[in-house]
Symmetry: D4
Subunit: 253 residues, 8 copies
């Protein structure tokens, strides 16, 4: 409950317009839907400016469907669903509102909004195999109203591919660097750019990549400044944070 | 063998009622069933107040069936079976006594007892995906005679969902906090409650969750006091310990 | 802020006895001391029934002194300080109120209360080297009003030493099992006892003990039920939780 | 070399004003000082808008002194030195320009600039022991022209301490959350705030904290969105990134 | 090449019976079969007293068949094959000589020898799920001419089951202790027995068992003396070593 | 862009033959194919003397096909594809140019060149199960113009098998040592040979082999000099590096 | 308590010579000394044939002195003390009975017995730096009555040094292989010998040796049979087990 | 023993010039010095072309002195000693032959040879703190007769510093890339160069650098080809291998 709402409520109590017990109830009333197995946060849009998102992993297709429809019923225009299986997508097909992307395993129920800010989120990958994670970031950013600029397969083993896109890197307001294996892309991009770089290690690789651990550690130890890291394969988290940064203060100074 | 029984035996020997060699035998006689591949502990109810439980993982359906029936034959009224496959459940269906739950993969052969204590075991989860583990705890607690109170999907990313249930937390005699990812639920609940909190890390998550390791470490390092931890996904262990605590001393002081 | 206090506050507002802005202030007023570098929780005794404890590691002796005295000034009768260096103890000597124990590195400022419950907390160790951690648990339990029963050096390599104390184990309401190396003590005690066992892995050992990791993993995987685990060397946490359990419901049923 | 400069150079070559070999030289001329053992990046201010910083660990006091003076000689007004030993600070004392802070082990050679942006960087810590890392972040942010707002010792074990500062959290443009042990602070702050949260795990803790690993994993797996992570104890990195974000677009929208 | 054979060869050269170049050849002639993809060691029986064994994992059924038959052709009476799939067993069925056990996934091609020593190898397991590994050890010991004595499901959570078999433990010349989870069986057996205990950690367990790591570390840190450890799930290695020890010096002193 | 080309370009600009903006364009023009999802490096043959290779893992069969054909269209005579699935191979079958090997999962599109150097690359394995990785190295070396000499199943448990091939080891110009389990082969070969040894740990093994970690650590800690290590199962990397070394300076000195 | 003693006790009770309560007492009477902080196992010589040993790490010099003297008072002729500091040795100097070795940090209080068996324990090390651990094994074996044969610095990087001692290896009844770094010595010795090989990983090495982890994993994964492993740097454990094996059955068959 | 020597020996036996028993002796005679605590390999120069090197860690200053002098006595002109303490250096000062370098902690006893090959070994570091390891490599290469070319502090956070030295990288015959933190230098150098790159991870860094683990994993997973890795901080190993490669075939083709 926001400060302003609390103030208003107290004024009403003071004015005798709201009985004490009723005020008690409102103070305890939680701004979430209670479906028993889930409590989607309908208050998030107010609190954080971004509506509730459904993390699909570990939920049954039926659970996903029920949460998604409940959020729609609450008036949420765009419901993003990540880690969504083909089967779960199938259950929402009849709504005619679902845009499902099999590569990134994301679904968007409802409309994808027009970009509402000028800066583009630049998303770069080290290789082709990192694209599914990058697309999760890209689709998340798009669903949150950001133009997206993709630079795929520009890893450091052929650094001229990255340098060829130097201008786009220098112009960016925020960059998402997605890479597996040793994850060196983040350091090199971080050394070139003058904006925040969100590093996403991916589980691409084998052997001593240890499911993304090598890339994760590499990125955490980046010798470049301005780089921060999200979880392995967490395209959504990177896209979400990039959108937050991209929406600060209108255009880049 | 209990102290009292030992005393009695020695008295019988002293009184010449029991030959020395027979006493030898009894002293060596083990209070367990010997099925060759398994030695279920029929003595546990006497020793620990709680009857033998079957851990189903790594046992063939046929082995589970044989142990369960042997315990029933010994007079055990409620046989709890954890990590039980659908297939193993099928083998006990003909008894007409099995209550099987596919979500928690637990079977209860025989009757589920009426609660025999006043306090409820409160079971909270961080998310929807933690429910299978939580239900293992809930079903275990129920099978051991406890009322159960479920608070599901109250993770710290929307902390108002948890605070909305503050009263139940403050009233609890023991709480089971089930969470994957970073497992912060245990710390926050531990900071609010004034009763023991049993933290159950789950393997929910991906990437740097490392199969529950992140939640496990988080819970072990909880800055809140009164929190202890069981193995990753060990709903049974938490439910068992919660029941032990819940049965101490009747009602909460 | 407690439910009752909130209710009262709202009634005062409703009755016009408390201006809205004043209520705002009270609702935001935090029940803690703000020393800048620390915010000791003076509300904990109300909320959790146990007064604030000072974790000494990472605090300068001067910081410890200031927090301890501030808590005393607030009326806290017993201030427990863990991980306290000799140097920090020296700074509080002039109060004439400090009881410092160099083995467990704990200080108790003020009075050590008389035990206020019947059950004793049983504390067992695998070896002699585990005693510092065990004493941290013992001193914590004592500072919280519990009788303590010590069973030291009863590890499983000479299991007759443990079995010789079987009676005390069977009579216990709660047991703290402290062990390094492989930590098997917790499993064996857990198999014998019918009460909660709090396992404390210690960093005693070398090589593949990996600073307590081996004992920690061993205890988390205990095949005995009723065992839960706290952090490596966390004697305080075990003593605190043991006290919580020991204070439930008066005497053991 | 910037695009504009390159364009200009080519124009000069085209105009015959610059011989080919001279152009060759300039194109290869590196914008860094070459001290043999170090090549401080005098070009960084142009490229990234923030001047070169000296990472003191692993450098001898004499090396630090030489690099710092060289940068000063190049006209850099503020030279930040992190992980600086008392001994290294001593070597620069005679300049009369060094502001050294023993808690954070940072030195600032030259002037600390006036804040050049409106938003404040909010820096919160879980405990008192996290302050050295937090101060590294705070001093970095200050050296880069940011107002700083400190919220220390507001960890989740007494969550009312954090909630009491909710307003400052809601007003922030960027937050640095510094915590050791389980690092849950980042998740709770991330769930409350609507701005980017930079999580800094610290090596505070013991046992299964594994030198900050527990906090690191916890923060990487944060269930809250908008949270990203830097290296363990990397106060500098967090302060640097916070400054980058804080300087975007003037005031917060 | 054995010392004696070398001596003989040199004598023949000295006597002019063996030309130098022929001697060269013999000195370089390797005592193994060269099948290209494999070089089974036909010399091992001479060198180590135990004939070559086929480790089936990672070999195709056809490769296993070819190696097994080649060894038979060389006159090896008993060919033990471990980690053998049902499919590989099928390929050797037509020989009418294969004894295949699906539980331990071992095949014995040829005759299982009569025991040629008096002492029995005692094999104990913590639980029922450890039996496949225990049987690999048992079958290996049997194939190498040892009587085997099985004590299954005697884990420490119900220690009376183990103590009931104390006599067999005290009489043993060598014991193989097979256990997953925390692996405490090895320590307890090691504390009771006066003979070498070979500890075999198994991958039985879940969560923080980390595929046998917990049991492995527990066993390596055993506080009991006389315990050594082989690889996780390495029933073969334990059976082989047990046989070596069991064959020393005839009967137990 | 090579030094010479840059010089020429600048001369053309100086001579007025190339407009400034056109030069700008050329300086930014990247020597790679841009397929959107991939940017194969057509410049590598010029820069590194070895043409672009396709790493098949994580790419769809269709993506592999498109990259391979694009490289062929660019005039690349031999296109090596590693980690290639049977399905991907099927998609290139119609070209009539693919040589696919199911054991090593490598495809060679186009001609396998005649060896263009005298020295042979010696490839040794510890066991039969290491052959798939060894063959990836062998096929890579062959595709890059090297004679290959295979020594398979010469692990240290029967060291005479290795010593029997001592001469080939002593004659080698570079050796690839492929081994799983404890990976001791690299140390023993490294102690015998007087040329660079490239150690390839494999994921062969179980339990504490931890997917190749044991072999990797063993090889990194080799007490023999002249040994360096590539990633677990990285046959390609070893073959590539071996070819590089084998092509230095013609014949071995 | 031994079987025979139990039988005798029961006979005495049956004969009325021993009152029931007295028998109770005896049955509970533990065969250990209770010093409070330690319970040395005076029964071990009876139970395991080898007298109690003092593990000095984590014990104060005063505690070591008291335990050692108590064991002497009980009639133990040889008291072995491992991990003994110079300071602790100083405290026992006045007895005139202590033989202290600073390299292995072992003390032997009382007489070192004459060898009571024919076979020698062979102890080999990979390098010079492994000698302290090897000497702990050697001194333990000597204290337990074994002749010891040292082969130091015979690591596999110069395998001819090991092969030069092949005869001693072939003649051994049991071998202790002590090595750090990659620990390959155990595999090579295991491949040559026909007796049990006890592998002792040491913490010798740096970097990816990870304090002995690399050697430990290497030894656990040894491709040679007959090899088992003890904890890192556990020279004592290896010497103890070697003595056990060396005492079986008199001379080697 | 070399093939030729063996042939000669056999001829002498055949000719009756060498008695059989004498031949036996010679065949067993090991080409190493036996100092008891060490067996320096005087045969290595013959076998591997490079004389024995003394690894100083874990050896006492006195042991180092004795081995070094013994090798000198054997006629070895240059004795390289790595990980040599100041104290050990002091013990050899009186020889007047020691060149000791405190930064790399290496000593060279005897003459540093003139370079005997044309190509230079290029040694690059990511930062200033990596210099001690780089110098160990440089001094090793120099002691083995190689010209050395140092490129220090050219890490990827300011990639223009590396690109400015591109020509030297392109001209190199072998490159040693030394870096801590994320170790990205190896990948970027590997992508630019056309010669073998030996990557040396260093323990430079903090937090999630985990003592060099992050750099190690990063380098093992390098997306660039032609890169292989040695142990953390193993400057010696890199310098030795670089020398081996640099000596192949005279000049670079």
């Amino acid at each position: 409950m926001e400060q302003k709402a609390l103030h208003h409520l107290l004024e009403q109590v003071a004015a005798g317009k709201l009985p004490v017990d009723e005020a008690m109830l409102q103070l305890r009333d939680a701004p979430f839907l209670d479906l028993g197995f889930a409590k989607p946060d309908s208050h998030r849009a107010v609190r954080q400016g971004i509506a509730e998102v459904i993390y699909g992993a570990g939920k049954t297709p039926e659970q996903i469907r029920r949460i998604a429809l409940a959020l729609r019923d609450q008036g949420q225009k765009t419901v993003l669903i990540t880690r969504m299986s083909q089967e779960a997508a199938g259950l929402l097909e009849d709504t005619g509102l679902l845009d499902y992307d099999a590569v990134s395993r994301t679904g968007i129920l409802g409309e994808i909004p027009e970009p509402d800010c000028d800066g583009a989120v630049v998303i770069a990958t080290g290789g082709t195999s990192d694209i599914p994670v990058a697309e999760e970031a890209a689709r998340t950013a798009a669903a949150l109203g950001n133009p997206v600029n993709r630079l795929y397969d520009v890893g450091v083993s052929g650094i001229h591919r990255l340098l060829a896109n130097r201008e786009e890197i220098l112009r960016a307001k925020v960059i998402v660097a997605v890479a597996g294996m040793e994850g060196a892309l983040a350091s090199v991009v971080g050394g070139l750019a003058d904006c925040p770089v969100i590093a996403v290690p991916t589980s691409v690789g084998y052997g001593a990549a240890f499911g993304g651990l090598a890339a994760l550690l590499g990125m955490l130890n980046s010798c470049a400044s301005g780089v921060s890291v999200v979880n392995i394969d967490n395209g959504f988290g990177a896209g979400y944070l990039a959108s937050m940064i991209n929406h600060i203060g209108g255009n880049k100074a």
